[in-house]
């Protein structure tokens, strides 16, 4: 062959090699030496480079399960990200590691107004950023504006929408305003009658902005109550009244009685040259106000019981304005990444980031300027990004990692017998979404029959095995203050054998199916279960399919899909049944019930019910917490009657933790606070072991035998 082939086939040396094998002088021996030595040198060189930044073992090594998306608390979502965020930042309130009750964080105390809508937070004057800068209420004002600003593209921005005017602020699109009336008239505005218009959701934001009244703040939300007058932001500062008023308001639209010309003129006048100006003005209508350097007032558009807890959730954590602006000057084009570089990132939590290697580890070191540094025991923590279940377990078992958060279900029965695995129910539900737009699943009797004939106990005991709880409602077990209603089913427990109860459920299911005209499954088409590729999902689907086949005579096909494809089919309602799960963001039923409102972003079942929407809407405006819970319970009763979802079980946590690690508590959110972590000494370790249920296998507890307690002493640890 002419020339030298680019990649000769394996096992067949190129022809020229053979052709030349016997003739001519042997190449000089130095060549071979040089080649071998060169290769060895190159290898040594690379190894040297790769190992250059060797780190000694940190006080604590945990596995985070994956590389986190970012260190920016406003833009991240997800459990691994949350773990790091809670270590390096702190919100207005912190949480008790066991009960999750609010504890003082950046705010040392707070008050709630009698109407339940205004919080006043008093910040501790001694708070400092990790670079020594003073920490003030302005930092929260800046950070929350950033969270809500559309260009930040924060996925969790919607959580802050309980703040007055915040939703409007996020959805405000300056382009729409520049485009002036065209946006209103051509896209979103539906003329009901002369002088009376209805605005679609996209224009809802516009309506808010238009309807902002200056004089009597609180403005945006109030102004949009039915009958309220409309105002507009004319020019930079002075909003002016607009001829019109709100006629009706629903979640999906708002009806205005308005003079369209007035709207047009107001918007034309409202065009501002400078986006920033616009924002500053617009944000002044949002209910976040700095009273003085150490006092922050937050006004909600309606009483929101879980809001205080939310301020301890990472999207609400503060970021350091100075370092962002400095990065912006220093790196005009790459500042969005540069301010997060460990060498520049300024934080306010118990730890700061000292090093970050992608897919390897994040090294955290104690932040000595943290206000409560006296009670932080760990001096350094390595957060690893190992993804494989097998590898992380092996790392734990060889003592190289002290805490892993997931295990393969294979080993659950063995681990349950050990002292280092104590699963607890967790605020998450495993369920199937039903596409209610497709026959026969549009028939509620068919959905009920399917939901009844799910052998939940088999699923939790034989497949997932870690003590998951069979669930008959959307809400998981253990939501504080909520008596969850269940779908109608045969009673279980207290002397009733599961098998009997399940048999009665199946009888009922057959009856329902017959009533729907499909007795014994006759006339029913094959139903397809979609799930994303994973062994456990498949096994569960298989058990369900077998039960539906045997009990109801329904043919079921399983179809697995690659993750992103699965998400896409779910979103486009291109499925019959789709395996799903939802983990609560905060300890309140709302994080589950808001999903199912008609047309909700996460609904994805095609289901909608006016009764449900109305109850959720009323609950959102209800001031009395008891009454609010009652409304939410009623809403779920509707959901469980209609069953656009088939609940299966409540999750449990899967932490395997070195018994020596103190300050670690299982809780319903699976949130853990490294601030409180410490090493038990041998005496305390023994005490801890004896507090565990008897008969568990004693496992090694590597670590400092003399313990490692915070500077404030042993009694400073949280218990």
């Amino acid at each position: 062959m002419p020339g030298v082939s680019v990649t000769p086939p394996p096992l067949s040396p190129p022809s020229h090699a053979r052709r030349l094998r016997t003739v001519g002088p042997a190449p000089g021996r130095w060549r071979r030496w040089a080649a071998l030595a060169g290769l060895a040198l190159v290898a040594a060189f690379f190894v040297r480079i790769a190992l250059a930044a060797r780190l000694s073992r940190a006080d604590l090594v945990i596995n985070n399960g994956t590389e986190i998306a970012s260190l920016d608390p406003a833009t991240v979502t997800g459990v691994p990200e949350g773990r790091v965020m809670r270590a390096i930042f702190e919100g207005l309130v912190a949480k008790h590691p066991r009960t999750l009750a609010p504890l003082p964080g950046m705010a040392e105390r707070w008050e709630l107004s009698p109407d339940g809508r205004t919080y006043t937070f008093h910040l501790r004057p001694s708070n400092r950023w990790s670079n020594g800068d003073a920490f003030t209420a302005h930092d929260f004002h800046f950070s929350w504006e950033r969270l809500l600003r559309p260009m930040t593209a924060a996925e969790y921005a919607y959580l802050a929408w309980s703040i007055l005017g915040a939703e409007a602020y996020t959805l405000l699109d300056p382009d729409d305003l520049y485009a002036g009336t065209e946006a209103l008239t051509s896209v979103a505005l539906e003329q009901l009658a002369p002088g009376r218009v209805r605005l679609a959701p996209t224009a809802f934001a516009l309506a808010h902005a238009v309807g902002a009244a200056p004089g009597d703040r609180p403005a945006v939300g109030a102004a949009l109550d039915v009958g309220a007058p409309l105002w507009t932001l004319a020019g930079r500062a002075a909003p002016s009244p607009l001829a019109g008023r709100v006629l009706a308001r629903g979640d999906a639209h708002v009806e205005l009685e308005v003079d369209e010309n007035a709207v047009r003129n107001a918007l034309a006048a409202g065009r501002l040259a400078n986006d920033e100006d616009w924002r500053a003005t617009a944000f002044s209508f949002v209910g976040v106000r700095v009273i003085d350097d150490y006092t922050l007032e937050v006004e909600l558009h309606s009483p929101t019981p879980y809001f205080l807890g939310l301020t301890g959730f990472y999207p609400f954590f503060p970021v350091h304005r100075g370092s962002i602006e400095r990065a912006r000057e220093e790196f005009p084009s790459t500042w969005q990444v540069e301010w997060l570089d460990p060498s520049r990132l300024v934080t306010n939590g118990p730890f700061r980031v000292s090093e970050r290697r992608i897919n390897d580890r994040i090294r955290l070191v104690k932040n000595e300027r943290y206000w409560d540094a006296e009670r932080v025991a760990m001096r350094s923590i390595d957060v690893l990004a190992v993804e494989s279940y097998v590898t992380m377990l092996n790392l734990y078992l060889t003592g190289e990692v002290d805490w892993i958060d997931r295990i393969a279900s294979n080993l659950v029965p063995r681990l349950l017998k050990r002292q280092d695995f104590q699963p607890e129910p967790y605020l998450g539900t495993y369920f199937y979404r039903v596409n209610v737009t497709r026959p026969p699943l549009n028939d509620v009797r068919v959905r009920r029959a399917l939901a009844l004939a799910i052998p939940r106990l088999d699923v939790v005991e034989k497949i997932v095995k870690a003590g998951q709880l069979p669930n008959f409602s959307m809400m998981p077990h253990g939501v504080t203050g909520y008596a969850k209603p269940e779908m109608e089913h045969a009673p279980r427990g207290s002397g009733i054998a599961e098998a009997d109860a399940f048999r009665r459920d199946c009888d009922e299911a057959r009856r329902l199916l017959a009533e729907a005209g499909f007795a014994g499954g006759a006339g029913l088409r094959t139903i397809v279960i979609n799930y994303n590729t994973s062994e456990a999902h498949r096994d569960i689907a298989e058990v369900l399919a077998a039960s539906w086949k045997n009990e109801l005579g329904i043919d079921v096909k399983l179809e697995n899909q690659e993750w992103k494809v699965y998400l896409d089919t779910q979103r486009t309602l291109d499925f019959d049944l789709s395996r799903s799960a939802w983990i609560g963001d905060y300890d309140d039923p709302n994080t589950f019930s808001e999903l199912w409102v008609t047309g909700g972003d996460n609904n994805r079942t095609g289901w909608g019910d006016e009764r449900y929407d109305d109850l959720i809407h009323r609950a959102a405006r209800e001031a009395d917490p008891k009454e609010r819970m009652r409304l939410l319970v009623q809403a779920e009763e509707v959901l469980m009657e209609e069953l656009p979802i088939l609940p299966i079980y409540t999750y449990v946590t899967q932490n395997v933790v070195n018994p020596r690690l103190g300050g670690f508590y299982e809780n319903s959110r699976d949130e853990h606070f490294m601030k409180w972590f410490y090493w038990r000494d041998d005496a305390e370790l023994e005490e801890f072991r004896s507090s565990l249920p008897a008969g568990l296998e004693r496992v090694p507890a590597p670590g400092p035998t003399e313990g490692q307690y915070p500077p404030a002493g042993r009694d400073a640890v949280v218990r």
Binding site: Y389, A408, L411, L415, K462
Partner: protein
């Protein structure tokens, strides 16, 4: 050669090239009787003499036999879940059970017939869990036997595909030569540099979207298509090997001799080029099969391979490595699939080596 030689010699040296017509006829008659030993026969003889290669060949035949007749063996169903706390260790007992067509993913008419035969021969007798069970209580031996079907199917489909495309492309390129040959080979180089993982992920996605159409309208399992696609990856090397061989054959002396003697083009092609290319192709095929099987395992490791409930050796190997940890190593999950896969691939390699030696013209007759 010897007889002809002798004849010539008896005629005396001065008469050597002045043969009468009768002599010529005699010569022609005798030459017709001479049978050169064909390459294939020679190779077969030498493979048989190469004991390891022959043993490996027998082993492969057994594997193929066992795999093809899988429904006949009295094994538990490889698919039906029997949920347990954890995998059960091997147990050398016989059990009662048996299962029917609904307990398996798909059966062709032959399989169904075999299943019937099994029922009439063994009744409801079946093996206990001779190699233990996996974490869902499925019999590992049965899964290995049934898994071999998919692994072999995959390997054969992909190999066949690489064979057809690779040989055609390589032979064409080599025979035509010149600029076209050069361009065709550059094209292969470019393809070589494309990371196929993207191609594979892309195809999986596309196939997933159209799998229903494929099965309903054409009766093709999407997995079959998928592995033909893998074959399309492996044709590159095949094309190179074949082209190289064709090129060197084109320049070889015996071909020139054949041409001088006036052999027709088809004769040259089929008598000389094809057999000579064939040998290297066969050798390369025995190496492609293991490579495809390993690639299948690689894809299974990444979660992109065969989908449960179907099972392949690669998938079993992946399940196996999850069982390695100091708390409890379910050793049978690791060793049994590794043994099945390892011994088969080992045998394939040994056969490949044996064939290479056997088909090497330089070693002919030895």
């Amino acid at each position: 050669m010897s007889e002809l030689h002798k004849t010539a010699e008896t005629r005396g040296s001065d008469l050597r090239w002045q043969l009468s017509d009768a002599d010529l006829e005699e010569l022609f008659r005798q030459s017709k009787r001479i049978k050169g030993e064909s390459l294939g026969r020679d190779a077969w003889r030498r493979v048989r003499r190469n004991r390891p290669a022959f043993a490996a060949l027998v082993f492969l035949a057994l594997v193929a036999f066992g795999s093809l007749l899988a429904p006949l063996w009295p094994l538990p169903s490889p698919m039906v879940l029997d949920l347990q706390d954890e995998p059960q260790p091997p147990e050398w007992v016989l059990a009662r059970g048996g299962w029917d067509a609904k307990d398996i993913w798909d059966l062709n008419p032959l399989d169904s017939a075999l299943l019937q035969v099994r029922a009439s021969v063994f009744g409801d007798l079946q093996t206990g869990h001779w190699l233990g069970t996996d974490s869902k209580g499925r019999d590992l031996l049965s899964r290995i036997v049934w898994g071999s079907r998919i692994s072999i199917q995959v390997a054969l489909a992909a190999t066949l595909c690489s064979l057809i495309v690779g040989v055609t492309y390589g032979a064409f390129s080599g025979l035509v030569g010149g600029r076209i040959d050069n361009l065709m080979m550059r094209f292969v180089d470019v393809l070589y540099s494309i990371p196929f993982i993207f191609v594979v992920i892309f195809l999986i996605t596309i196939l997933n979207e159209y799998r229903a159409v494929l099965v309903d309208d054409y009766g093709i399992e999407h997995i079959t298509v998928f592995y033909f696609v893998i074959g399309l990856i492996y044709w590159l090397t095949m094309a190179r090997v074949v082209r190289g061989q064709v090129l060197s054959l084109k320049e070889s002396e015996f071909l020139a001799a054949a041409r001088v003697l006036g052999a027709s083009t088809p004769r040259i092609l089929f008598r000389h080029i094809v057999p000579n290319v064939l040998s290297i192709v066969i050798v390369y095929l025995t190496l492609t099969v293991p490579a495809v099987m390993l690639f299948e395992a690689f894809l299974s490791f990444l979660g992109l391979g065969v989908e449960p409930p179907k099972v392949s050796w690669g998938l079993l190997a992946v399940d196996g490595i999850e069982a390695i940890n100091p708390i409890k190593t379910f050793w049978w999950l690791v060793f049994a699939p590794a043994l099945a896969m390892g011994s088969t691939l080992l045998a394939l390699n040994v056969v490949g080596d044996g064939l290479r030696d056997a088909l090497d013209p330089k070693l002919r007759g030895k």
